[in-house]
Symmetry: C2
Subunit: 540 residues, 2 copies
């Protein structure tokens, strides 16, 4: 006989996990923590969290007065600065959805995304006012255009009815009572800039964002504390700047926002040294440029303790340069837009072996991983067997905005990352390749990433890319593209010799193509789809 | 016209926050992290998290085979050791409620609590087998008695039908599929050992416990990382050992459990030095005894980096002894059984002023504080104004187990702590007194705690207690009780002189009583209720 009985519930307070709780915590517990940012109208804007959240309340009044229903998408086209931060909180805590749009996308993509999200308001950095002026006739749902500036002159000669952000804030009350929200309510929206198909939106909830904030702050992830000064070089228009706009205030640290200067190594070096930055987050390209600049100028970064490297894999050269030249720890991190974004962080100590330290790290508490074969069977965590990587957790998406189903990506409660990976017995993840980039040769797999890394071991190779091309006997074979460091041709014999030292014989590419540049996506990633098309066109 | 619209929900995975997720994370991501414990049958039991959770599955099979409905309370009367840890996870993750009973309570209280909770199973350390044998006739709901031992000889001569833990585990399968649980399901139950009224149960949920685990682990709280070795001197029968049994495995650290030896300074010193403990948690008495022992034996604790001091206020002498004699940081923490327990932690750096550093600290992310006056009006955070302290957060209770209402403690979504406190502009909490202990004299408040601390500044005073007694003119006046360090009488003149240097004139007690000992509760706290009764009896 089966005994039927009701669930015995705990008797704890039903307090929803909302971003308003991050705001209340930050402004009451760390009121004097600072936000430093670079904007078009101020080379170094500074204020405290207390002042920041007073302005957030003013902005909430501005939005409230527009009479938008809750859940309305409010778009932003903006850099990393204090006004964008205010928008993050005012929009989400008011019950609207903060839709960050990547201004580096092609205009047609921006138009598609704003229309698909049905943005009713756009908050726009002065740098993107001309772009929006051009796109406006196609933006079918936008009623309100707000320029993120205090300088009305940037609007001279515009044709749209622009509102000026600082004028609106000055006229608004600093008192605002934020609504009580359901923790499952949407708070933010980010579109993936995939290389195939139309962009797809990931709709984050207050709950997922708060839980992600807790996890990101832990010592097994970014280890954020009040004594940290955190430089966010990862854009706020790209997966919520890896949640730093939430996690840094929640931990009482100082947040440094480089505005439009994310690609300017000289300004980044100055910010690090003048603001005494302890922790900085960004993609490998940012750090490669910074290190080159520091070398040229013979500069140090003595305050810097650790860098978070994500977006693409961290190379051994990058890790060793930070450690050996600047005594800076590297936290190699991995995630996806669909994961809020953080999935794994490598916090292995310097005493661990280099192979382990170059992996993408261990899942942060809350994220579960598994690798499966083509038949869906789970594969062992032995550090050798590679399989399709699936993930689950409270900050992983279960579908895309206004897509009713996504069967390819979300099956049996697990999200398919599209990556191929190994996991070792301690839980260290190593991404071997994108599932669509792996080269299937004679029934075996060749990792395009491993082959690219082997090419990078050659001292004259600046960048490398490997694609698979059809082969009558082996099904697929790799083709290697390389860009040289000094613009001259790399000696093919020495390159093949170098490859042979690092990879198996049967992985060696029959064809090596030397080019001046390789195609990249709007977010700076190697665009293998474009490279395949380019290769196919040339081969015809 | 009010626009009615449905909530737009985020599209993130609905993964419940359950203790099974802590278990899965710990065993997959930190399988080799260690648990070290002292038991009656092993002076130093060691195993890994992987081995621990294999045994948890065996125990889950044992419990499953008892055929208990979900939500059943399973009681424990046990010390801090690996078997108790296994019970924590096996009980909660199976959908039962882990009811930790304080074996130091009076037998009548234990009987009351076990009956009130309707415990169906009791897991009992061999040390408490005789106690349970005596109580058994009154334990109306318990069907199964399990002795936490591998040594059947400890059951010789017993009359109950005892099951032997290690025999049960050896016979059980190590395979078990834990049920999917609602995150609001109850996971644990702890009774408060208040000095007034019957004990009251706090029923924790999986959600509240997981969220508390996240918060406790953050750098603004205990900052637990895989490189930590954590000694839990706070009992697992008292508010889940401040959540260390969850937070330490979740962060990949090593957990050291001192068994029944929590009061033995020599063994604690040995554990710290042999296991290279980095972080230790306990009440002030534990640390006072340890420091005295280290002084006598001229011993150091070089691996120890920080101690978490809670349960009672940390004195300046204790904080300075750790810093000056051992270069150990003190994390002063505050909480309550009703708060899971952590509310605030002081992580101010040593460079901060000593007054700030002696406060109970700032609320951890998720906990909100307020102070109110007698009319319910909120008071300012100025570090001076004191008021009744109320708290809220997802790991604060909203009622007591099988009490339908608790109006005095839970009003308008806030829990009344029963404390009087100040909060400064940076959010640092300072508990001034218990609301029921504060002395109302001539319309003003005298803090019994401040007066006790002033008495402790006298070099010969070991312990002090202040109670209010009725006074015809001033309403109430303080009476000071002191215990001397060496058993001799403290010169009253020098004591009064010492007090006058630290407190206002009108706070000076008319009466000072010197005694050999003061009454304490079962959890080691000063029992002012008993002292008041004792004082009233003597005064008659």
């Amino acid at each position: 006989m089966v005994e039927i009985n009701p669930v015995v519930h705990g008797q704890m307070m039903a307090i929803p996990l909302t971003l308003a709780s991050v705001m209340r915590h930050a402004e009451r517990v760390c009121p004097d923590s600072r936000i430093v940012s670079i904007t078009a109208d101020n080379s170094r804007h500074r204020y405290t969290l207390r002042e920041a959240f007073q302005r957030v309340r003013r902005l909430a009044n501005v939005l409230h007065n527009l009479g938008l229903p809750s859940g309305t998408r409010v778009g932003t086209l903006a850099w990393n600065d204090h006004r964008h931060l205010e928008a993050y909180y005012a929009i989400s805590c008011s019950g609207y959805v903060c839709h960050t749009i990547n201004p580096r996308l092609f205009p047609a993509q921006i138009e598609y995304i704003a229309n698909h999200a049905r943005d009713r308001v756009l908050l726009v950095d002065p740098a993107f006012v001309p772009l929006v002026e051009k796109l406006a006739p196609e933006l079918r749902t936008v009623d309100h255009f707000i320029a993120l500036t205090g300088d009305r002159s940037v609007l001279d000669g515009t044709t749209l009815r622009w509102l000026c952000y600082e004028d609106l804030l000055a006229a608004a009350s600093p008192e605002f009572s934020f609504p009580d929200l359901d923790e499952d309510a949407a708070c933010a929206l980010a579109y993936t800039s995939g290389t195939t198909g139309a962009p797809k939106g990931v709709l984050y909830s207050h709950r997922s964002t708060v839980l992600h904030t807790y996890a990101v702050t832990m010592p097994t992830a970014f280890a954020l504390s009040p004594r940290d000064v955190v430089l966010a070089v990862v854009p706020m228009f790209h997966v919520n700047a890896w949640s730093l706009p939430y996690a840094v205030p929640a931990s009482g640290a100082t947040l440094v926002l480089p505005g439009s200067k994310m690609g300017d190594a000289a300004i980044l070096a100055t910010l690090i040294n003048e603001e005494r930055v302890t922790c900085a987050a960004g993609v490998p390209t940012v750090w490669i440029n910074l290190l080159a600049y520091l070398r040229t100028k013979r500069l140090g970064v003595p305050s810097l303790e650790r860098v978070i490297v994500g977006g693409s894999a961290c190379s051994r050269a990058l890790l060793e340069a930070f450690e050996n030249e600047h005594d800076v720890d590297v936290l190699h991190a991995w995630g996806m837009t669909e994961m809020s974004p953080l999935g794994t962080v490598n916090t292995a100590p310097r005493s661990a072996d280099i192979e382990t330290r170059l992996k993408q790290g261990k899942p942060i508490f809350g994220i579960e991983l598994k690798i499966i074969d083509a038949h869906g069977h789970e594969l062992p965590w032995d550090g050798v067997t590679s399989g399709y990587l699936k993930v689950r957790g409270p900050w992983v998406c279960r579908g895309y905005f206004q897509h009713t189903d996504s069967p390819a990506h979300y099956e049996h409660g697990w999200f398919d990352t599209g990556d191929v990976a190994t996991i070792d017995r301690d839980g260290y993840l190593q991404i071997t390749d994108r599932a669509k980039d792996i080269i299937k040769s004679g029934g075996e797999w060749i990792s395009s990433i491993d082959l690219e890394n082997a090419a990078l071991m050659h001292p004259l190779v600046q960048e490398s890319a490997v694609i698979g091309v059809p082969h009558p006997k082996w099904d697929e074979r790799p083709v290697l593209y390389v860009v040289s460091k000094d613009g001259t041709r790399v000696d093919e014999g020495s390159l093949r010799h170098c490859l042979a030292r690092h990879i198996a014989d049967w992985w060696l590419p029959e064809t090596i193509v030397q080019v001046d540049t390789l195609p990249h996506t709007a977010t700076g990633k190697l665009d293998k789809r474009a490279l395949r098309e380019q290769h196919a066109a040339v081969m015809k």
